[in-house]
């Protein structure tokens, strides 16, 4: 057991230089599985999307999914990789009950894409993350361990296996080691995964729902004493499943490894598990007792040799990538890079762009998606895109504000009504009676009532202390349930008390 004395993060990064690396697994959004025709739909009843091939039944054979290969090439091109002209699948041999064949068809020393990079921007600074490789493999089944304390196979009373996931195409994106990020190492790790997620979404190769496990990260961290030349021993924190956890895993490992090194001990090269509740990692199996996977070329499949013409076709059909799009929108919209970064990180850039497309100003669109709607998404625990409101509806609310029909407070109520399923914005405004009241007859009545009710305030205003009008405006607003045109109310108050 290693010492679990933690050094404070600031102290740790002041004396040690972290090096990070990420291995990210992404389930591709192909219609069918990697080596058979079964559907990849999430959430089907257990073991209903299976066949002899993905169950690995004796005699069955895999046939590679062309779409999955195309998607992987798309990812490789977007990550500035070299696309192999000839490569093979390999078998990775190990025994586990959720592996139907007790080997995984993967790629070993001949990945489909190699040697690329991606830039991530953090606080205005750009970090170039090198991409070692992008390869294609099949997912395993999913084990559910019943009983026992840890939810792991050891100590469980029994285990259930769902093979629906077995054979879903999985892409693994492996970065090169990323040095020189200092105290920003956890944030850079998170920003990289965010950037990768956006890229994969833009490429339409995966819906990248981390909560469904369609993107999973293994996070490598090592520490080097400042000034030292050789990098330290790394640990690999497995199956980190949210952006926040990526950041926490790096942060915790920095604090923990600094403690180990301070105590004069050696960091053990091992896999570790992150505990979502505490944010701490604990030791998995040591690399020294690691399995020998006995990789060898998969003899049931023929080599993959994408013709150059096909790769060029894929390149020509690439959609606009997130970085280019962000730069374009920043210029077109005239917004700050910080606001744009916020929209991207919130997963709302598509929505804001569609809202602008529906007629809203960029400032308005950004304001609503970053403010009110982000809050609703947060409250409901969903992505903004999953809110029951369309960019067109948001644009309509914005238009009502521009026309003076709604103020911001009324607009918030209108959005709330749409989200509550009360209909289109105009219907909500009508049904809830949200339109601003600027009708003098109605306002005059409320103003007169307010003056009559607060003679002391009225006296102050008559003495020229016009700032006191605010109190009366507040009364008018209350009387009209927020619908009064505040400017007109002020005019009427000052008129009467001049």
């Amino acid at each position: 057991m290693t010492t679990e004395h933690l050094v404070s993060f600031d102290d740790a990064v002041s004396r040690y230089e972290p090096v990070i690396g990420l291995e990210t697994h992404v389930e591709l959004g192909t219609v069918s599985k990697m080596f058979c025709g079964c559907p990849t739909t999430f959430g089907l009843p257990p073991n209903s999307a299976v066949c002899p091939v993905c169950l690995g039944l004796p005699g069955s054979l895999p046939v590679a999914n062309r779409a999955a290969i195309e998607y992987t090439i798309r990812i490789g091109l977007a990550l500035n990789c070299t696309i192999a002209t000839w490569c093979r699948f390999a078998r990775k041999n190990y025994f586990y009950p959720d592996m139907p064949k007790n080997f995984q068809i993967s790629q070993y020393d001949e990945p489909l894409c190699t040697d690329g990079w991606i830039d991530v921007t953090l606080g205005g600074k750009t970090y170039r993350v090198g991409i070692e490789r992008v390869h294609l493999e099949e997912d395993t089944g999913k084990s559910l361990h019943i009983g026992g304390a840890t939810g792991r196979i050891h100590g469980a009373d029994y285990s259930l296996v769902d093979y629906n996931r077995a054979g879903i195409p999985l892409v693994e994106v492996v970065t090169k080691p990323v040095p020189d990020t200092g105290a920003l190492a956890p944030a850079v790790a998170r920003a990289y995964v965010t950037e990768l997620r956006d890229l994969l979404r833009a490429l339409r190769v995966s819906d990248v729902r981390m909560e469904e496990g369609s993107l999973r990260c293994d996070v490598n961290t090592s520490l080097t004493p400042r000034g030292a030349v050789e990098w330290g021993t790394r640990t690999e924190t497995k199956n980190v499943n949210s952006l926040r956890s990526v950041e926490r895993a790096v942060r915790f490992e920095i604090e923990r490894q600094a403690g180990v090194l301070d105590a004069g001990q050696k960091v053990v090269q091992e896999t570790r598990h992150l505990h979502e509740d505490t944010g701490a990692t604990t030791s998995g199996r040591s690399k020294e007792e690691a399995q020998d996977y006995r990789y060898f070329p998969e003899p049931d499949l023929v080599p993959v040799a994408p013709p150059a013409g096909w790769v060029e076709e894929i390149r020509a059909a690439m959609p606009e990538l997130p970085a280019a799009r962000a730069a374009r929108l920043q210029e077109e919209w005239g917004v700050s890079s910080a606001d744009l970064e916020k929209l991207r990180n919130a997963g709302s850039l598509d929505l804001a762009e569609a809202t602008v497309g529906a007629g809203a100003s960029p400032a308005e669109a950004s304001k609503w998606w970053l403010g009110e709607l982000a809050r609703h998404a947060n409250d409901r625990g969903v992505e903004p895109a999953d809110l029951p409101i369309t960019p067109e509806q948001v644009a309509r609310v914005s238009a009502l504000v521009q026309a003076g029909t709604l103020n911001d407070q009324l607009a918030r109520q209108a959005l709330e009504g749409v989200l509550a399923g009360e209909g289109e914005p105009d219907e909500v405004v009508a049904a809830r009676g949200l339109a601003i009241v600027s009708d003098d007859a109605v306002l005059a009545e409320a103003v007169d009532a307010a003056i009559a009710a607060r003679p002391d305030v009225a006296a102050k205003i008559r003495e020229g202390k016009t700032a006191a009008a605010g109190a009366l405006i507040g009364d008018v607003m209350r009387a009209t349930k927020g619908r009064a045109d505040a400017g007109r109310a002020r005019e009427l108050i000052l008129q009467r008390l001049s």
């Binding site: 039944l57 004796p58 025994f95 196979i153 006995r294 990789y295 003899p299």
Partner: protein, 509 residues
């Protein structure tokens, strides 16, 4: 039973198909005659692991119904066949000769199985084999060995020994075998019948329980070259479910078997396949066959394939390596045998206990060999090196086929050996595949055709004819010419010289 029933089993597949098509005999009668023969001789032969009498008769009724409705039957409609128990069948167990698949009923038919059914071929049952096709004698079957119809104390070869024995004993006119290192040709040779290993990828592996994926090839066994060709044509062709399946037309094997002509053909004798370890009678018959080819107008030369001597060691690294991975799936989690699931053992322990109890000694030996050969640090020296040898063997073939159209050799160095003789000597057993392995490693076509009896033991000798990949038709052309000339010399098929086997059973009935 009708009076002509004993005769039906002696007809060739081509003759049976014609008789069924013409209505001279029904498919049900043909099937029943073979089922009766099975009942009569199985107690002594043990060629089958499973006989599907009811299913076979139902399939035969279908064929008869189709014929009555005027539908065309195809070249093998109504002809019975014995299927090696390594190909999956929905309506029969599939054991691969192993206890570990105990109780497994595949939910799907192999592509070969499906094609046979679609062609109206009647599947009589599943034949015995060395466990997971690992062996040359059927002695490695978990269910006991099959006997050689020529001498019941001897092995029928292997691993497709149940298939070769069933055809030689007139239990079926046709059988399917699979060849990984010689497992069709060697049993065919020692049982005095025809066995063909098609070009790798020429016949689908989908539903063939894998031993060594880069080598396994299903192919036909029959009593005549034409019958083998007819079956070859029905079972072959591109299969989208097998990525290694060749997407090319099936070579015209039936036409070649009918052509049966070698005039002007260049025949190469592989000089490496003779000398020590070869039985004198085998070499004598082989030499006669070569002289026969020459007399038929072939131009015979000697050709050296220097790397063939490394084929056996390379094979015993590549095949076990692939097997160690292919057989990993037998872990008791989803199907087959399960040992130790009593609430006291972990999943890992159940896997180990099941594999310890379910696999036989030879299978375990090869899993260990292959696991070792693929291990980190040994891969380059073993598996990697063996693959390099494989490339050299392909080049030897390429060079040879620039000089000659076909290569010939004895199929196997000896005739059928006594049951038990080599059971405890794996190296001696492995030598049975010495001449057949190169074509498995290179993936080219090769056939074995009977070329006489060894004088010293009166047992059959096979002539192997090898052709380039996708030139399967060439092997049939030569084999059919040899068959015709030899039958003329012998005054009938070689099998008519086999000692009687079934009479006792027939009398009983």
């Amino acid at each position: 039973m009708t009076a002509e029933a004993p005769e039906l089993i002696r007809l060739t597949a081509a003759e049976l198909a014609a008789a069924v098509a013409s209505g001279e005999v029904s498919a049900v009668e043909v099937t029943q005659a073979h089922l009766d023969r099975i009942v009569a001789v199985e107690p002594r032969l043990h060629a089958f692991l499973h006989v599907a009498g009811v299913g076979a008769l139902a399939a035969a009724e279908d064929v008869d119904r189709k014929r009555a409705a005027g539908e065309p039957l195809g070249p093998l409609g109504g002809v019975p066949l014995a299927l090696k128990d390594v190909l999956t069948t929905k309506d029969m167990p599939t054991t691969c000769g192993s206890k570990i698949l105990d109780g497994w009923r595949p939910p799907y038919d192999a592509t070969v199985t499906r094609r046979l059914r679609d062609a109206g071929v009647i599947i009589l049952g599943k034949t015995n084999m060395d466990e997971f096709a690992m062996g040359s004698s059927t002695e490695n079957s978990a269910f006991g060995p099959s006997a050689n119809p020529w001498d019941l104390t001897r092995v029928p070869g292997g691993s497709s020994g149940g298939s070769s024995a069933s055809v030689a004993a007139y239990e079926a006119p046709l059988a399917i075998g699979t060849d990984t290192g010689g497992s069709i040709r060697q049993p065919a040779a020692v049982c005095g019948i025809v066995g063909m290993k098609p070009t790798y990828g020429g016949s689908s592996r989908y539903g063939l329980v894998a031993f060594a994926s880069s080598l396994d090839t299903p192919g036909p066994l029959a009593r005549t070259v034409l019958d083998a060709a007819l079956l070859h044509e029905v079972m072959s062709g591109h299969d989208p479910c097998d990525a290694t399946s060749v997407d090319a037309p099936v070579p015209p094997v039936v036409a070649a078997a009918r052509q049966a002509d070698v005039a002007g053909l260049r025949v190469g004798v592989v000089s490496e396949f003779s000398g020590e370890g070869y039985q004198a009678g085998v070499l004598a018959r082989f030499t006669e066959a070569v002289e026969l080819l020459e007399s038929l107008g072939a131009k015979v030369t000697e050709v050296s394939c220097p790397h063939f001597r490394y084929a056996l060691p390379a094979y015993y690294l590549i095949a076990p390596s692939e097997a160690s991975s292919n057989l990993a799936r037998f872990d008791a989690m989803r199907y087959g045998l399960r040992v130790g699931d009593d609430g006291t053992h972990s999943a890992d322990e159940v896997m180990s206990l099941t594999r310890a109890a379910g696999f036989g000694a030879e299978v375990k030996r090869r899993i260990m060999l292959g696991t070792y050969a693929l291990s980190s640090g040994y891969y380059d020296a073993y598996y990697g090196k063996a693959q390099q040898v494989r490339t050299l063997i392909v080049r030897d073939f390429d060079a040879a086929f620039e000089q000659v159209d076909v290569l010939v050799s004895p199929t196997t160095p000896t005739t059928a050996f006594p049951i038990g003789e080599r059971a405890d000597d794996p190296m001696a057993m492995y030598l049975a595949d010495l001449c057949t392995i190169p074509s498995d490693l290179a993936g080219n076509a090769a056939i074995s055709v009977p070329c006489g009896l060894a004088p010293e033991d009166g047992l059959p000798v096979g002539l192997q004819i090898m052709a380039p990949a996708l030139a399967d038709d060439r092997t049939y052309r030569v084999a059919a010419a040899v068959e015709a000339a030899l039958q003329q010399r012998w005054g009938g098929p070689l099998l008519s010289q086999a000692p009687p086997l079934g009479e006792a059973g027939e009398v009983e009935r």
